[in-house]
Amino acid sequence: MPTTLPRPPEARLAELARAHAAAMRSQQRRTLAAAAVLAVVVVAAAVFAGVDPVRMFGRIGAVGDYFGRIFVFDGGPFAGRPVVVAPGEWMWGLGHWAKLIGDTLLIAYAGTIVGAVAGFFLSFMAAKNLGRHPVVRIAVKRLLEVCRTVPELVFALIFVIAFGLGPMPGVLALAIHTAGALGKLFCEVVENIDMRPVEGTIATGGSWWQTVRFAALPQVAANFVSYALLRFEINVRGAAVMGFVGAGGIGQDLIEAIRKFYYADVSAILVLIIATVMLIDLVTERIRHRLVDGEIRA
């Protein structure tokens, strides 16, 4: 219900406007200064990275062109027609690709499990409230930091040389990165537990292992599983590109299709990867919500 407010006299309005402007001035000045700094940094970065605006806009047309092209057959009986007219022809390699996507999921799974188990043990050693020795604690913290800062693909590149081509270096690379990332998150969870059960266990003569098992674990288990599932989602994406450096999974076929300009294959594999990622996200989200709900009820 619109209502009209009485309009104040002009003199009063002018005074109010002046007061408002004065109140806003310092804030505006600060915003402008921040914007200027940002603009300078952006221009410097653009010059450094060799971004040429003219060339950039010249290529913008090529973007739509590429996406138009990967959804059209470039050879065979359906040449020149959109891929949806012949799904069988488009997904000609479905059996082979499905197997590779299965491999990709297995790589992500194995990497997540191995990494989560390693992160699990390391997190208790790195936690401020349960870590036994300060030197060990700090050493473990630094180790976790290095594991999660170096990208998994760099580990994969090195492992491919050390262990040979195949999914095995991919699993190991994901496992190391996962141990670093989950170790840190687990450690934060452990540092925030209620210490009374810990004291209780210690008071009844429990050893360090028994303290972890009976006082800490029941408090952190749901959180740990939730974080591990989240990491699994991330690792599925990571495992999909492991093949780029020869570390197994669907990535090998994707990079080949892109590099050799098999346009229809590129779109087919991309669609399969996106569908898989969405499906996994959906399933893990369900499980995670259930875990969180269970924790709230309990």
């Binding site: 971004v51 590429y66 191995v114 800062t149 040389i161 270096p169 004291e199």
Partner: protein
């Protein structure tokens, strides 16, 4: 999950007191175990059904892991040989060295390029995702269909890894850092769109009602009621992504999209281990510095609020 910040030293106090408790009470409690078991049988019996379920779940997980390891031909011999190789590489890595100053400058320049790629890619993604955040927000976008379509569109973009985007952009714009910027932009666009829309959906409705009561139009509502609430949140998220993108920008060079990754993969492939260790150390140092700077700015912009990602 709430985060409780312990005052410094409090933990040590707790620890030393628990040690005292253990020393005093532990042996006594252990000696009395039989009596305790008799008095509280339900505590010692546990929960057999729950235990069986947990055991079954763990057995399933282990079986799947075993299948994966069997399928990927893991063997002790292979792991042992590989670890031997890695140890050998590690000895070759010290001392880190580029083999001459001209190369050091090349590395430093490439590292600068990596940071520039991360910065420009993140900012471009934020600018692009900003309008889509409003489209995907249920409280701004009244119609269900555009909201739903925008959400699915953002999900699709998010499903493709940065590295895949890099390969696609290389085909479109050619090798070099520009493809890297576009790759970071593409993959973050999906993530930002989702995060921004969540921030918009979480705004307090009272300022909106205030603007409406004062006779403000729909754009005025967005400008004066919604924007001031979401800008600090968005700034925090953009900074956080800039940090993590510095890490991912190091790898897009592996496929030829500019930055330090090109040198890193080149050094690994040609087994120049001293260069590898130098490059990794340079990346670690840069990431640490950027983490520090951006954490400072983040706290200045949004205060001590935690960022949900």
């Amino acid at each position: 999950m709430s985060v409780v910040v312990q005052p410094p030293g409090a933990m040590d106090e707790v620890l030393s007191s628990t040690r005292r408790i253990r020393a005093a009470l532990g042996p006594a409690a252990r000696a009395n175990r039989a009596a305790l078991e008799k008095r509280h049988p339900q505590v010692f019996r546990g929960d057999p059904a729950g235990r069986a379920l947990a055991a079954a779940a763990i057995a399933g997980l282990v079986a799947l892991l075993g299948f994966a390891l069997w399928r990927f031909e893991f063997s002790f011999g292979r792991i042992g040989a590989g670890i031997g190789q890695l140890g050998h590489f590690l000895t070759l890595m010290v001392p880190p060295s580029a083999g001459g100053w001209p190369r050091v400058w090349l590395f430093v320049h490439a590292l600068g390029e990596t940071v520039a790629i991360a910065l420009l890619g993140t900012l471009a993604a934020a600018v692009l995702a900003f309008p889509f955040g409003f489209l995907a927000a249920r409280n701004v976008m009244g119609l269900r269909l555009p909201h739903f379509l925008t959400r699915r569109f953002l999900d699709t973009i998010r499903g493709v890894d940065t590295l895949i985007w890099a390969l696609i952009w290389i085909n479109v714009v050619g090798l070099g850092p520009f493809a890297g910027i576009l790759a970071i932009m593409s993959s973050d666009f999906g993530a930002f769109g989702k995060l921004f829309s969540e921030a918009i959906e979480g705004v307090d409705t009272k300022p909106i009602e205030g603007v409406r009561a004062a006779g403000g139009s729909r754009p005025a509502e967005i400008r004066f009621a919604i924007l001031p609430q979401i800008l600090p949140v968005i700034a925090g998220q953009v900074l956080y992504y800039f940090e993590s993108n510095t890490r991912s920008a190091t790898i897009i060079g592996i496929v030829g999209a500019g930055g330090i990754g090109l040198w890193l993969s080149e050094a690994i492939r040609t087994l120049e281990w001293q260069q590898v260790s130098l490059l990794v150390l340079m990346v670690l140092a840069t990431v640490a510095v950027i983490d520090q700077i951006s954490a400072r700015i983040r706290f200045a912009v949004i205060g001590e609020r935690r960022i949900e990602t």
